[in-house]
Amino acid sequence: MPETLAYSAAVRSALELLLEHDDRVFLAGEDIGVYGGAFGVTDGLIDRYGPERIRDTPISEDAIAGMAVGAAITGLRPIVEMQFSDFVVNAMDPIVNQAAKLHFMYGGKVEVPMVVRAPGGGGTGAAAQHSQSLEAWFAHVPGLKVVMPATVQDACDLLLSAVADPNPVMLLEHKLLYKTEGPFVRPKAPTDVTEPLGSARTTRAGTDATIVGYSIMAVRALEAAEQLAERGIDAEVIDLRSVRPIDHNTVRASVRKTGRLLVTHEAPTAGGVGAEVVTGVVESDALDYLLAPVQRVCGLEVPMPYARDLERAVIPQVEDVVDAVEQLVKA
């Protein structure tokens, strides 16, 4: 029987399992110790695992990520936290120029098994520098994997898989998801989970349109589909889960069935992951099945504003998805 757990607790349970079962694993980040992390994810861990394995760092994102690279190539399994994903701007060199490239650049003779956890997204009134969704940057970098769990179970499982992976993985959580609750089957050991990185999940089968989302927009997409069902529209919902690599086959198969595609993410529309999803469809034969132009329901092309109504206007809401699918099906 699954228990009910909060998303942040599920992340924590994965961290605990890892710390318990693998000596090489350690955590590092700003205020992850006694403070418990800005979003409480690491709450209590320092008491059980001590300051050597739950490492509070100075406010030095470049050093946090770079240190993780160095620790990873010498045998440890660092899991580092960027307090907000926005601060990853200060760690682009170690992540993109180092972690992502070392394995290739050094002729395959080194592995960089590190995970960077970073909470992204808006809706908290924290404005432009604390609300970004930057996954598209990393999804464009060969050598990285990028996962974005939407459910409580995935919050745990994808983290376990990320740490098991010999490659650097960006694990981007959404701040508003931390407090969401859902069914959770607690793994007994990290190896219990064999969820591969890179597979999408169809969270609702349907015939009229395909909605592809990830992270919080996978959740909203599902809500939208339920509302659409009441209006007689039967939408299929795909939770991408991984934005690098992207499981194009699952999307294509769905589009061949429904003939209609809507992609949704919170990041700004232009140049977002949605464009890659769409292109994956129309560069395949699935193009022939499209009955109408594709739709994107994504973030508006502005930095995130502070004021509640403005912020809400920028972030795609359930009703935006509902409206867009209705139009799509009418088209």
Binding site: T57, G125, L310
Partner: protein, 325 residues
């Protein structure tokens, strides 16, 4: 423009004291509004640190610039910002400093010399260097005062900005508000070398540490640094030791420090109480003057809130045209 443009006929000590009380009352008003659910997001209050903001900005001259931090309400007020426009911003009003787009962490008034609060730790330091470069190449005679926290001193940006300012002899004052913690991280644990001022030597510039809760000490140190910068002799790091009474932000449970420590700072080192006592002792102000300052500050903030609440709400109407100039 700037703070001295507000003509206030009272004595300097009265103005300084009133301003410090304004800062405190402003923050308290925010707490109150926050608890009533009228604000969005979080905020970083500077209660306990008023002397640093006021002492530093008070040492500047009309036309000088500041850059500010996530904990920037005090800086804005001390630099002559209008509490009503700040409050309007926080209350998501269209007439707020940033039209409701910025909120607590982004209050700016560039025209009046406040180049803006910044949500990125140390993010304003390189900006301050650039603003100082403008002063230098245009021979404006103005200086830039850059506020940053003790935690910010461990960002790479600190290093690059300070180094640049030193080799280019930029007219900037690096004002470190060392409130002993960067969020939960004790400054002494995060910062090798002991103090932030101590790092100045590595850049061949002067660094000094002062009691940040002594508004006069702060003023004097900044005045010296600003004069030096103005006359082409480059930057100084002025580290002000101070303390914040409230948590880092709204989500802080204060687990990394003791209540005792907080109480000690509040009861024994409060910058307002200390300045009042000093002004009384040296007969700069009477008990009556002090009461008047307090009352003035309280009234100002009450009025600011009242006015701000009447302002029109921020609107999404022109949002899509707002990202580009």
């Amino acid at each position: 423009m700037g703070r001295n443009a507000r003509r206030d006929p009272r004595s300097l000590p009265a103005r300084v004291l009133t301003n410090m009380w304004r800062i405190r009352r402003f923050e308290e008003a925010l707490e109150e509004l926050f608890s009533r659910g009228m604000l969005h997001g979080t905020m970083h209050l500077s209660i306990g640190q008023e002397a640093t903001a006021e002492g530093a900005c008070g040492a500047l001259t009309d036309g000088d610039f500041i850059t500010s931090t996530h904990r920037g309400h005090g800086h804005a007020i001390a630099h002559g910002g209008d509490p009503m426009l700040m409050m309007a911003e926080l209350l998501m009003k269209d007439t707020g400093y940033c039209r409701g787009r910025g909120g607590s962490m982004h209050i700016a008034d560039v025209a009046a010399g406040n180049l803006g609060a910044n949500g990125i730790v140390a993010g304003s330091m390189t900006i301050a260097a650039g603003a100082a470069l403008t002063q230098s190449v245009t021979d404006s005679g103005r200086v830039v005062l850059c506020f940053f926290g003790d935690g910010a001193a461990n960002e790479g940006s600190f290093h690059e900005a300070v180094n640049l300012s030193a080799i280019w002899k930029l007219p900037v004052v690096w004002l470190c508000e060392n409130n002993l913690y960067g969020m939960s991280m004790a400054q002494e644990l995060s910062t090798a070398g002991g103090s932030v001022a101590n790092r100045a030597g590595g850049y061949g510039i002067e660094g000094l540490a002062v009691d940040g809760n002594d508004v006069v000490a702060v003023h004097d140190a900044v005045k010296g640094a600003a004069d030096k910068a103005r006359s082409g002799n480059g930057p100084t790091i002025v580290e002000c030791i101070t303390y914040r009474y409230r948590g880092h932000s709204k989500s802080d449970r204060n687990l990394y420090r003791t209540q005792d420590e907080i109480d000690r700072w509040r009861d024994q080192h409060d910058p307002l109480a200390r300045f009042e006592q000093r002004a009384l002792d040296s007969k700069l102000l009477t008990e009556g003057d002090i009461s008047a300052c307090r009352a003035q500050a309280a009234a100002d903030i009450t009025e600011a809130v009242r006015q701000a609440l009447l302002q029109p709400d921020a609107t999404a109407d022109d949002l899509l045209e707002s990202a580009y100039a």
